[in-house]
Symmetry: C3
């Protein structure tokens, strides 16, 4: 059992929590919350693998990912009760999820032989598209279009990984840790200080 495998399981678990908690006014029933956790957890990675034509999809070929999601949904229920601070809990698990998934997705794309620029996009997609699908399904503005720095933090982390890898040939695991840390850092600073990118028009 590799470190990467455990990281991916944990990312799935964190994303399932964030998905199950992403409910509008507590409107969802158990099925709806589980479905949201499921889609958030598998959406980004599934899109990446479909775009790359890489089969079987991770969760189709390995039942442990389904169990990680179920655990995440149950944990969401418990955490929510304990903490009663939805927003912060959601932010924490979502940030952990996107940072881990960016690196996992980037490395998978690279291992399938695509060019670095495409691999960076795939890393970002792995991280954010589950949430985008989730938000689109409940007719909310997808998280990537809101003011905070979100997907661009993932892209920055992916570019950081690629640069460190190409220049100083950093150890893979240290590089992954550093680049994921950069994503967490950018994201939390942006939320804390209300940072945003310049407008397009």
């Amino acid at each position: 059992m590799s470190v990467q495998y455990i990281v991916e399981l944990f990312g799935t678990f964190f994303f399932a929590i964030s998905g199950a908690l992403a409910v509008k006014d507590s409107e969802h029933d158990w099925f709806g919350a589980s479905f949201m956790g499921f889609i958030t957890a598998i959406g980004g990675g599934s899109l990446r693998d479909i775009l790359l034509g890489s089969y079987p999809l991770v969760w189709v070929g390995d039942i442990n990912f389904l169990y990680a999601i179920i655990a995440g949904v149950i944990a969401a229920k418990i955490f929510f009760r304990l903490l009663e601070r939805l927003r912060r809990t959601f932010l924490l698990f979502d940030t952990l999820g996107i940072s881990l998934f960016t690196i996992v997705g980037l490395e998978k794309a690279l291992s399938l032989g695509v060019q670095p620029e495409i691999a960076a996009i795939m890393g970002m997609f792995t991280a954010v598209m589950g949430g985008v699908i989730r938000d689109t399904l409940v007719n909310e503005t997808p998280v990537i279009f809101r003011k905070e720095v979100y997907a661009s933090a993932c892209l920055a982390g992916a570019v950081c990984y690629l640069l460190l890898n190409a220049s100083v040939h950093l150890d893979r695991e240290l590089n992954a840790l550093l680049s994921a840390g950069l994503i967490v850092g950018i994201r939390l600073l942006a939320v804390r200080y209300n940072l945003s990118l310049p407008r397009f028009l």
Copy 2:
């Protein structure tokens, strides 16, 4: 021509009817209604096959499914005129569609060798995701997140099929009939008596 093939064609026909009738305030033109019928009919099965990497997609490889959809859209126009009771007509054809497609999708996934839990999800996806895509496109809350028991009825039917198959080794066609009947029963009871699952939070 197997029973399963005819069932799938009829499911496609029913779903095309329900999709074409799923219009907001009769706003759609002929193209819009046909597109909605098409997406509703092929969305779930296409998603299943894409997730499983099973090519060619059913409707790409067999033109009869396109004809079943065209027939469904025309039937929707005629039925609507005859009956003038949109809601009930829609409910009837939609319920027939989801019950048939759950079993068709479940059996296809099993035949491709995935584990039972994943096959159950694929059966449910086959049944409900066409409608989810349809609802998302017109910015309505997807049917699976509304209060009524919908996708969970499909999941119950899929689990019933798997249990009957694993325990008493029921004849495949009888099992399919029973499990599809369970879905219809749960769905119609839930609508009739306004049943819903407990809230998540």
Copy 3:
């Protein structure tokens, strides 16, 4: 470098412009606008290739498409400044995009051996589904459901191509030009004279 390849690159460029300009009240930042340009440009072709199981996706296998998108997003920023007439600029580039992509998608589907009816749908999907995904992500009514003749113009162009090809065996490039011109003509006439298809119900 074939004519078809250059046409596809230009279609991608035009679509990236239209996507980046498709902002609600100038709300998007640079990342959001680039993401919208990207999704609009690659959405339809990616969906076509995924539905047909044709890998690698065009933009995954050839980095030039990513560069065409980046060029389009920058051009959008410049054009908007120069022209300050968002609606017309958008209409022009979007119409060029859908006409080129319909023919490109149709020809690719035919080359993969699907039946003409399916190829026509694939041509239309290539043209309009990027915009549909774009509109769905920002919770707008997808362009294909608005009153104007849009996707049906693409379908008419695709049918025109198939008929000319089957009947008079027209030279491929002349046929492509004529059919793309028909799409542009129908679309611009529909916008100019406010034409729409008859209602379904």
